[in-house]
Amino acid sequence: MSGPGNKQCDTGDGYSFAYLDEQTKRMIRRTLLKALSIPGYQVPFGGREMPLAYGWGTGGIQVTASIIGPDDRLKVIDQGADDTTNAVSIRRFFEIVSNVATTEQTAEATIIQTRHRIPEAPLQEGQILVYQVPQPDPLHKIDPRENETRKMHAYAEYGAMQVTLYEDIARFGRIARTYDYPAMVNARHLMSPSPIPKFDNPKMENNPAIQLFGAGREKRIYAVPPYTSVRSLDFDDHPFEVQTWKGCCALCSSTVSYLDEVVTDDRGGRMFVCSDTDYCNKRQADRALTTETGGIVAPDEGAKL
């Protein structure tokens, strides 16, 4: 579709803008609007083959490609990090096929495509968070037959999911799920939040941003509109709780972020650092500034846990 003289059309490599053809975008756009109209309901869509393997974010890429425009600024994260393989290759893909601006800063981005994390910095109205989803149906492990789970969703029969959580309590004394923790959206549809840690589940509720979920292999799109109730399943005597850590981030000393354990040598050395690299870098930069201007904290003081 790139015409001569129209600079913003020019992706340089002869691709349609954002890779997908216009008919596919229109189909995905209609799907997205229905997904937003029925929060948490998985809308089937005609997922296309993308130039990367299933499992690498083909669903998220198709959603991003259908919404992105020349005025957007794209951020891509993988496990919270901007510099991991999946994030780097997807960001580069969109630089090539849509020529849009990219950023690593959460606050600057209009579209954030994510694998397995929600950024630590709160999102704002007008921002769009696109999740890559491997298995969109939270009931898949209970019954792999889609015609059955579709009926369970249609009639809101979610007792079986409560039973699996109860089995955890009977066996381990607590709900053992730590990621992909099922959540009830708008008090009606049970939703898989994609494999984000349950630490991130509370961030989905009443978020001012638009949250879109794309599953490429399973060909499902679903959404959580802004300001929508998203309740993680639990029991009165076993309320939902998120992970906590004893220490703080070794690089930025944050005590409120999600920490990754990093092995540092082969003698058992390890440290805990923020999984959200943008959040961590920003805090380190702020601290360095404080030190320069007469603050008291040295940048690497928190490095030993």
Binding site: M1, N6, Q8, C9, S16, F17, E22, Q23, K25, R26, M27, R29, R30, T31, L32, L33, K34, A35, L36, S37, I38, P39, Y41, V43, P44, S66, I67, I68, G69, P70, E125, G126, R150, K151, H153, A154, Y155, N186, R188, H189, P208, I210, P225, P226, Y227, T228, S229
Partner: protein
């Protein structure tokens, strides 16, 4: 050969289909995500009589050969029909239940909501989206809207709707997640009303 001068003039669609539809879609998505807020379109198009700019832009952005369109009496002018046929390639249907989009230019005599397709029990997404042209989005009787996408409460004043509209809208919540979704349109402004929203008049 002489050209047929009697043929109605066909207005052009978007000047830049790729980027104009992208921009219009983002406005539509915002309208669905933030129901009740008024969104102006930042792209323009020469609309066929009697369609509003925003209704025309919506059809150009979302409709194609996969989406049958139903037009009400006022909307189905020759000009509008040939425009939609040529630019969207969308089949035009007289069966409200099989329509994916319904264009309503005369809201005071619009069909009842349940005359359209509410989707199926297992596939509630297969429902009709109503595109309702109203005289004003602010000067009608105000109603309080609650639900997903709305921070606490919002009070749009959609004008020109029949008396039964809001009671029937709330009745449709009985069959949620089935139901129809609505875009209210006035000129180049639009307001989204997805089915999950509850309204108190």
């Amino acid at each position: 050969m002489k050209r047929d001068l009697a043929a109605p003039e066909l207005r052009p669609a978007f000047a830049d289909p790729v980027f104009d539809t992208q921009a219009v879609f983002r406005t539509l998505m915002s309208a669905v995500a933030y129901p009740g807020r008024i969104f102006p379109l930042d792209r323009s198009v020469s609309a066929p009589h009697p369609l509003d700019v925003a209704a025309t832009a919506l059809c150009l952005t979302l409709a194609d050969f996969e989406t049958p369109i139903w037009l009400d009496g006022r909307a189905s002018s020759d000009e509008a029909r040939s425009y939609l046929r040529f630019h969207c390639e969308a089949p035009q249907t007289t069966d409200k239940k099989s329509a994916r989009f319904a264009l309503i230019a005369d809201p005071s005599s619009m069909p009842h909501l349940m005359d359209f397709h509410p989707g199926d029990v297992e596939f509630p997404d297969r429902s009709t989206t109503l595109i309702v042209q109203v005289p004003s989005l602010t000067e009608g009787p105000t109603a309080s809207w609650f639900g997903p996408g709305i921070n606490q409460v919002i009070k749009p004043g959609i004008a020109g709707l029949p008396d039964w509209f809001w009671p029937e809208w709330n009745l449709c919540s009985e069959i949620y997640p089935m139901g129809v979704d609505v875009f209210f349109i006035s000129g180049d402004m639009l307001v989204g009303l997805p089915r999950a929203v509850r309204v108190e008049v």
